[in-house]
């Protein structure tokens, strides 16, 4: 399959997904509902995110590469939290405990290194 065909297919998938989701019931998020942000991990980085992470939000991170990762997070106070090993295709979650600057890294791949600023 060539690259252009793939692009086209992705485009079609986009449209189909859009149609499916608009036909569902409209849900409104309220203050009390937990917020889950989808994120993804490739071979060598976290894909750029556009949401604003806040304290108590949950990140659901999917490993979209074909290799395993071992993500760990350094908290603002220096505490290191290990999220074990993430196999290809797996989604793992982490709930942000408080506002501040967090560093997301991978034990296997030092090139993966992303800072996340969390608002209150």
């Amino acid at each position: 399959m060539n690259r252009e065909l793939k692009r086209w297919l992705s485009g079609m998938m986009l449209i189909i997904t859009a149609l499916i989701s608009t036909s569902g019931s409209a849900e409104q998020l309220t203050e009390s509902e937990p917020v889950i942000h989808q994120m993804s991990l490739t071979h060598h980085d976290f894909e750029e995110w556009t949401f604003t992470p806040r304290a108590n939000d949950t990140l659901a991170i999917t490993n979209k590469s074909d290799i395993a990762h071992s993500i760990y997070i350094t908290y603002p106070d220096g505490t290191v939290v290990n999220l074990d090993v993430q196999l290809p295709g797996e989604t793992f979650t982490w709930t942000i405990p408080a506002a501040g600057n967090y560093m997301l890294q991978c034990w296997i791949h030092p090139i993966i290194r992303e800072e996340m600023t969390v608002s209150p």
Binding site: T17, I67, S70, I111
Partner: protein, 335 residues
């Protein structure tokens, strides 16, 4: 409003799955050489610093006994390694590790087999101060270099004043090492479109490298490493990166940094412990999948190659050799 946002997010997710799947298919262009040598903003490459760094690199007076320079073990004749199974001076160590090459180190994301240094500047002082290596200390070294008159103009040219400091020594050594870049190899010419630059056997080897053998899961990019750490299941008691990071990270026990595959020495030695001397043995190790243990890398998946496929893979690896670098040793400054 909320609805639109989640829609966009969902759409992005779908799109990115496809984009990354496409990205995981390797093509020649994934191995394209970079155009320029990177350097940190606070230590840019300059001719003067390269000259100073090269002089320091070859000067045995950087060791306590004045009998060992950086170039003793990172020798031009051995592709900037030493060709030895066990490094000079480490014969008495229980877990010696092979001397890695310093070629293409400008691009390294982690240094040393266990990744305990994160920049060339930080790494530079380690061999100087390690007891079984150059066995010196930076304080005395700064003093010793200060007494060698010939160094003053070199420091002056590099830093605009002649003061000698640990940091300046490290910065100059790092700068010189950044200039040690692999020559263009026949593989590079093939990447650039010269179809006849490598044999058809090597081209088949490239397919196996990226396909069946999955070497490219870690030996990625033009340097043929992504600087990742893995336990490849060698029978070695050395805990590698497991010794320098929290012990509960099981996957890093016995893990070592993925070495580059460019400019491999003819007879190795290969692996972090220098335990293998020919590439066929190395390939067979990966086919077998290594020792099964909890820390074994998830990328260690057994596979089987035919004799011909092994030959092809080795033919491909040989195309990554650009030959030795043309560097004249410096004239060492007089006392």
């Amino acid at each position: 409003m909320m609805k639109i946002r989640s829609l966009v997010m969902l759409a992005c997710t779908v799109f990115s799955v496809h984009a990354s799947l496409a990205e995981d298919k390797f093509t020649r262009s994934d191995y394209q050489r970079p155009e320029a040598i990177p350097a940190p903003a606070n230590n840019p490459l300059t001719e003067e610093k390269i000259t100073l760094g090269k002089t320091l690199f070859f000067d045995p007076r950087l060791s306590r006994n004045k009998d060992m320079s950086c170039a003793t073990c990172h020798s031009q004749d051995h592709r900037w390694s030493d060709g030895r199974v066990v490094p000079l001076g480490s014969e008495e160590l229980t877990q010696p590790r092979r001397t890695p090459t310093v070629m293409n180190s400008a691009w390294l994301k982690a240094l040393m087999w266990d990744g305990r240094a994160n920049s060339l500047e930080a790494q530079a002082v380690l061999p100087i101060t390690t007891a079984h290596e150059m066995n010196y200390n930076m304080k005395e070294l700064v003093q010793r270099l200060g007494e060698i008159k010939g160094y003053q103009p070199l420091f002056d040219a590099a830093y605009d004043d002649a003061e000698i400091t640990t940091q300046r020594i490290a910065m100059a050594l790092a700068t010189f090492q950044r200039t040690l870049v692999s020559n263009t190899s026949s593989f590079d010419r093939w990447v650039e479109g010269d179809e006849d630059a490598i044999s058809s056997s090597a081209q088949r080897g490239f397919e196996i490298f990226n396909g069946k053998a999955q070497c490219a899961a870690c030996h990625k990019s033009w340097r043929f490493t992504d600087d990742s750490f893995h336990d490849i299941g060698l029978d070695s008691p050395d805990r590698g990166r497991g010794k320098v990071i929290p012990v509960e990270v099981t996957i890093m026990q016995h893990a070592f940094k993925t070495p580059t595959l460019r400019d491999l020495p003819e007879d190795g030695p290969f692996m972090h412990d220098g335990s293998m001397t020919d590439l066929e043995e190395v390939i067979k190790h990966y086919e077998d999948g290594g020792i099964q243990r909890e820390s074994l890398s998830k990328e260690m998946k057994p596979f089987e190659l035919t004799e011909q496929q092994r030959t092809d893979l080795i033919a491909f690896l040989k195309t990554l050799d650009g030959g030795s670098l043309d560097i004249d040793p410096p004239v060492l400054p007089m006392e």
